[in-house]
Each structure stands twice: as C-alpha cells, then as structure tokens.
Amino acid sequence: MDQQIKMDTLTLADLRPEQQGEILKIETEDGVFKRRMQSLGVVSGTAVTLDRSAPLGDPRIYSLMGYSLGLRNAEARQIRIRVK
C-alpha cells in the first residue's frame, strides 16, 4: 500500500512545461523551509505551472499565484503535486 502511494506520487520537479499542477503538500522535516514555502503560497490546492528552466535544467521557474518563483530541483522534489 505504502509502496503504491510512493510510486504514483509526483513532485514539483516532475512537472512538465505543458502541464497544470496542483500542490498537495510539502514533505520535509525542515520547519523553516516549510513555513517559508507556505508563506510564498505553496499550500495545498494552489495551481502551479512550470515557466522555464535554467540553462542546465536547474533551478527552474514556476508560476503560481500570479508570480514567478525560482526553485532548485532538490527543493522542488520535496513538494508533492497532482497533475490536472
């Protein structure tokens, strides 16, 4: 069961340019990072799209709540999403 959930769990880093994502939750033990993300609008239900990637594919710019947020893939992998 647990394995099953992990397998079809997508993270923000998996989002492709043409997709519309919806944030589910932030999976991290780092409380400061989590609250920082939340204050930037990364909360469950927020719609998010991938704007563009840096020349080497990392970091990437996401579009949410009408603004652009730059995030490294390492951080984006801690944010679980669902693709609409």
Partner: protein, 703 residues
C-alpha cells in the same frame, strides 16, 4: 501630541516599501528590483497636518512565522516594538501572495493601513480593485499608491495622521474552521491561566496561533511551562490526525483561503490576465533562453566594462586637459621651492592623476543601477545558480558579488541576502576579490599604457579574473571552513521594470560624490605623505657627482648628443634620489618579496601605500613618475616601463591583494570576528602572490 507616532512600513520583499519610504520622507535609501535590498531598520520623522510621524522602513518579509534570519529583523520589530500603526505595503500586482502577510498582521491587533502599491502596473494590466470593499473586509483604510511616481503619497500621509488621532477601532478577527478554533480557544485559556491579567484577548489569541503554528521563538519563550508545551503538542497531533496535515499547513491554507475568497470579490479582470506581464515574458524568452541566456549575461557584462573604458575616455581627456592646465598654472605662479614641488609633483600629480577616472566610475555605476533596477540581476542569479552551486556558492551570492564591482564594503553588507551563516561567511570572504571601482583606475591606466588596442577587453578580462578567483576561492573556503549546509535557492523573479531616471541619476551622483570625497580626502593626504616620503632625506650620497657632470655637459657646445647626455644624467639622478628616499628605501626593503613577480620598487611602493585604499596605487605611481620623468601624462610615461606580462601580473596583484582598510573593518564587524578579518588579509595576499607569479611566468613566455 508630544511624542511622535511610530508608523512601520511593512511588506513583502520587493513590494516597494523603501520607494514609498523615500517618497514619504524625502530620504534617498537605495532601491532596486530584487528582494532584500533593505536589510536594516531606517527611520525618519515627518510632520503632516500637525502630527509628527516617525516612519520606519522595515526590511521586507513574507511571513511572521518563517523565521529565516533575513526575515527576522522585520518580524522581531513588529512583535517586539509594537509600532503605533502598521502600514501594510502590498504589491497590488501580486495580491494573491501578499495578502498572506496581511492575515498575520491582522492578528497582531495593531491599527493598520493597507497600501496598494504599484497600482499603475495593475491598471495597465486591466485589473480593477474595489478598494471600498477591500477596506471593509480587511478592517483598515486602503490607499492606492505608485511610490516611484509619487502618486497617492499625500493621501497616505492623510490616512496616517487621521489614524494617529482617531480612537483605536475594534480589531478584526479571522475565523478558522471549528477544529482549529476550538484548539486555539483551549490554548488561549491555558495561556490566560499562566499569565493572569497580563494578556489582552487579542494578544493571547495571537500567541496561541503562533504556538500552534510551531513558532520556535514563542515556544522557546514559554518553554518553562512544560505543561503548556505538552498541551500544544497534543493539540497538534490531534489536528494532524483529523486533517492529515500539520497545524502550520492548516493555518496557512486557511489564510490563503481567506485571501483567495476576498480577491474573488474585490478584484475584476478586464481583458487578458497575462497582458500586464507580457513584456516580461517576451524579455525572459530572450534573457533566460536556455542556450542564449548565459552567453548574453557574459555579453552584457562585456558591454558594461567596454563602455566603462571607451565611453569614459572622452570626458577623461577633458579632465586630463583641465588638470594639465591647472598644473601648468600652478607651476608658473608658485615661486620655485619646496612648496612648489609639493603642490606640482605631489598634490597635482596624485590628485589630478586619480580624479581623471571619475567618468569611468560614474559610467560603471550607471550600468549597475540599470542592472539592479530592471530586475536583470535577479535573473542573472537564477542563470548562474547551477554554475555557482558547483563552487559551493548560492545563486544569490551573485548579488553581493556584483555590488562588489562598485565597492567591497556594501558587498560585504549585502551578503545578508544569504540565509545560511557559513555560506554567508564564505560570501563575505570572497567579496574582496570582486574588483571594486577603486581598482578600475589601475586597470584603465595599465590597460591603456600596455594594451592600447584591446584595452576594453583587458579591463573585461580583469573583471572575469576577479569573478573566477572569487569562485575558486569559494571552493577552497568550503574545504577549510568547518561545517556544511547549503541554502535553498528560493527566489522570486520580479517583473522587468524600468528604473526611474531619478534613481539611476541618484546612483551616479552618489558614486561621483563618494569618489570626489575620496580623492580630496585620503588621496590628497596620501599624495602629500608620499611626496614627503620620496623627497626626504635630502642629503643623499649619490654614487657619482651628478651636479658636476651636468655642469660639465652644459659647458660643451650645443648638439643633440649633449642634450641626450644631459637628459640621461638628470633622469639617472632623479632615479637615484627616489631610490634613496624614505619611500624608495622601504619599498626596496620589501622588493625581494615581489622580485619573482618582476616588480620593481615602484610597484612595491604602490602596493604598500594601496593598503589604505586602492585608489592610492595610481596616486603613488603618479607622484613617483612626476618626480622621475617630469610631470608628463602618466599613461604616456608608463608605456614600455615594464614587459606586458609584468603589467598584467601587477594588475592581478592589485586586483587580489589584501582588502582595503574599510573592507577589513566591515568584514570584522559583519562576521563578528577579527580573526576572519585577519584571515582575509593573509588569504588574499597569498592568492594574489601565487596568481601574479603564475601570470608573469606564463605570460612572459608568450608576450
């Protein structure tokens, strides 16, 4: 009213609080189009309609609970100082995100004024906001402004004055779902029992919410109440069990739900919602292009340094002519003697030789103002993050690094954009490698004298060396300095904005003033001191009797050979005099250290005096050459004075060796350790020596 009313300008980073502060108070604080330009509190008093307002510019933050160090200054201020009025500055184009902070400010219970800043951008995007409805929903007056165009400033001052005089209104209360409300209620009751009569209901509710959110600071404050802390943990796990989410997330979601609901009612979109930022998209397709992005960044920097050199050359020639005129005038009017020599060969050569670089510096600052004001600098750190990550640096380190092109002192201060302590220390220690505008005169002088045809490119290459060394040394520092831990790259990319003419001009004016102040201060004093050091002692035992030899020559019949012989004799005498002066002797004493790099005692002397401030390097050169070769133009005199490879080695050494006194002081202050400041001196001297040696050896083989 006797005591001033404290008004705090609070908003997200880059919401325009500082621009608003400048517009309100007539201050000239630095602004740019990226986050965290303002890192400390600034206050100014203004009297409006008979009310004295003490307006405080608070560094921006996104949330009162995130507790990342760069946001702490702002949070601590709001919680600790409790200003009389909070002016909540919102970027009207980014309300979806900015209202989150508003929901937290509501809970402080302090009187608030809501400012919708950058309304011009919003209107252009065809968005209409029902401010009356927004005001009633937020329980605060709403004022629309455009700080950069100084629109709505009077209305805002009116609102502040009115609120200062009015009786406090009932604070608004945000409602959460029933489970959360029940939990808040229970914690609140517990708190009231622990602190009877001390807490107002607003305050205890606020504390309860903070504790449930897991605010480390508030929890630490209450940590002696073990039972309370246990209670909160219980509430948190019960909530987590019911909602499958931790309490902080529940509260955050509820806050965004409130703001989303509110915006659905007050905001109307006419036309295409992306129209407003269409230009930003088009520009980003270009500047952030995956193939073109990095070459473009490099190209932009090249243009910047090339223009600094070649555009600067024109006004520089005028200043040179002016300096020459002044010098000639003084030369003729002052009677022969020591004072004459001091003014002509000391002051005029040193000060005049340095002031000619004013145009270059002003042009450099123009470019820096444009880069930071448009929002390109934020993009540059995004583009460079991956590359810099390899060097153990964070993309945002680019911001202090670029600031370092101006001056290393603000660069060290600007490292506060970096959250992680160790990463910040590393950024601080590499900042002095950034080629500040004080090194620019050395590059321009040497590049102009030794590499006339490719001078701009040589200057650019020096800047690239500067960046390269900074990055490489970061790798080394990452090994040396104990500990680990990077920083998450979380950066908002602001839309492109046209910097106002006023702020760009202000930047340039500021740099010009700073440079002139330095030239008339430290450079002037330095030139006088250097002149005395090279003039004394006067009773020099020459190796041969120059006077007699010159007199003998004079007796001979006129011929080209006679003139040449006299010139050689005179120059040999001047050189020996310099070498045996205090300056020459002390420089010769340290020259063995620099011999491997191919430097003569003149270079050693310039390097020594340059410790004070790097502009003195050129001033020293100017004084020495004025003495040795007569007051000709420095660039002309310098041509052929050393092999090109040595010239490059000298430029590199000047670029990298020990930070100037002010920078050493600021590193000591910001790192709170004089050990690191001392380390920085030794470290950079070593780097400079090794690199200069390598260049003079390798370059010597080719050039």
């Amino acid at each position: 009213m006797t005591s001033p009313v404290t008004v705090a300008l609070v908003g997200n980073p880059n919401a325009g609080s500082t621009s608003l502060f400048n517009a309100l108070t007539g201050a000239q604080s630095a602004v740019a189009n990226y986050q965290r330009v303002t890192t400390s509190l600034t206050a100014r008093e203004v009297t409006h309609r008979g009310v004295t307002l003490r307006i405080v510019d608070v560094p921006g933050f996104f949330s009162t609970s995130s507790q990342s160090p760069e946001e702490k200054v702002g949070c601590d201020y709001i919680h600790g100082e409790e200003p009389d009025i909070i002016v909540n500055v919102l970027d009207a184009g980014h309300l979806d995100r900015s209202l989150f902070l508003t929901t937290q400010l509501i809970e402080t219970g302090l009187p608030r004024i809501t400012v919708l800043n950058m309304m011009d951008e919003v209107r252009r995007a065809g968005i209409r906001i029902d401010t009356a409805l927004l005001a009633s929903a937020l329980g605060s007056p709403v004022v629309e402004t455009c700080a950069l165009k100084k629109e709505g400033i009077d209305a805002l001052l009116d609102a502040m004055a009115a609120m200062a005089l009015a009786a406090p209104a009932d604070p608004l209360r945000l409602h959460y779902d029933s489970h959360l409300e029940a939990a808040i209620d229970r914690v609140q009751q517990h708190l009231s029992k622990l602190h009877p009569q001390e807490l107002s209901p607003v305050r205890s509710r606020w504390l309860a919410i903070k504790m449930l959110e897991g605010d480390d600071e508030v929890l630490r404050h209450e940590s002696n109440h073990v039972e309370l802390v246990e209670d909160i943990k219980g509430e948190q796990s019960a909530l987590a069990h019911e909602h499958d989410e931790d309490t902080a997330s529940l509260l955050a979601s509820a806050r965004f739900a409130f703001s989303n609901g509110l915006l659905r009612e007050v905001r109307q979109q006419e036309g295409d919602p992306t129209a407003g930022f269409k230009l930003t998209r088009i520009l980003d397709d270009f500047f952030l292009n995956r193939t073109l992005g990095l070459p473009l960044l490099l190209g932009i920097l090249w243009v910047m340094f090339e223009a600094t050199f070649s555009l600067g050359a024109i006004p520089t020639d005028w200043i040179k002519a002016l300096v020459q005129m002044a010098s000639d005038l003084v030369d003729k009017t002052l009677p022969e003697g020591m004072f004459h020599d001091l003014v002509v060969n000391g002051v005029m050569a040193g000060v005049g030789g340095t002031i000619v670089f004013l145009p270059n510096i002003v042009i450099l600052f123009f470019f820096m103002a444009v880069l930071s004001g448009t929002g390109y600098l934020a993009r540059a750190s995004f583009l460079m993050d991956r590359v810099m990550h390899h060097f153990g640096l964070h993309g945002t380190t680019l911001i202090p690094m670029v600031a370092g092109f101006g001056c290393n002192v603000p660069a060290v201060m600007a490292t506060s954009v970096i959250t992680n302590k160790r990463a910040r220390l590393i950024a601080m220690l590499i900042s002095p490698f950034m080629s500040c505008s004080a090194r620019l005169p050395v590059f321009i002088l040497f590049a102009g004298a030794f590499f006339e045809n490719i001078a701009g490119t040589v200057v650019f290459a020096m800047y690239m060396t500067s960046i390269g060394t900074a990055m490489l040394s970061a790798v080394l520092l990452n090994r040396i300095i104990p500990g680990s831990g990077g920083d998450a790259f979380v950066m908002e990319l602001p839309p492109y904005r046209l910097p106002t003419m006023h702020s760009v001009l202000h930047h340039m004016w500021d740099s010009a003033q700073g440079f002139v102040a330095k030239v008339t201060g430290v450079i002037l004093v330095g030139s006088i001191v250097i002149w005395f050091l090279q003039e004394f002692p006067r009773d020099i035992a020459y190796s041969q009797d120059f006077e007699t030899a010159i007199t003998e020559q004079a007796a001979l019949p006129d011929s080209p050979e006679k003139d040449a012989a006299t010139r050689t004799l005179k120059s040999a005498q001047a050189q020996e005099k310099l070498e045996k002066s205090y300056l020459g002797r002390s420089a010769i004493a340290v020259t063995p250290l620099f011999q491997p790099l191919g430097f003569s005692w003149r270079e050693s002397a310039s390097i020594m005096t340059g410790f004070v401030a790097k502009e003195v390097v050129v001033a020293t050169y100017a004084v020495i050459y004025a003495q040795e070769k007569g007051s000709e133009q420095l660039t002309e005199t310098l041509k052929g004075a050393m092999p090109p490879a040595t010239a490059i080695a000298f430029m590199i050494f000047t670029l990298l060796y020990a930070p100037c006194l002010s920078t050493i002081a600021i590193i000591g202050k910001e790192s709170k350790s004089w050990r690191w400041a001392g380390f920085s001196v030794v470290y950079s001297l070593t780097f400079a020596w090794v690199l200069a040696l390598a260049v003079s050896r390798i370059g010597g083989a080719f050039l």
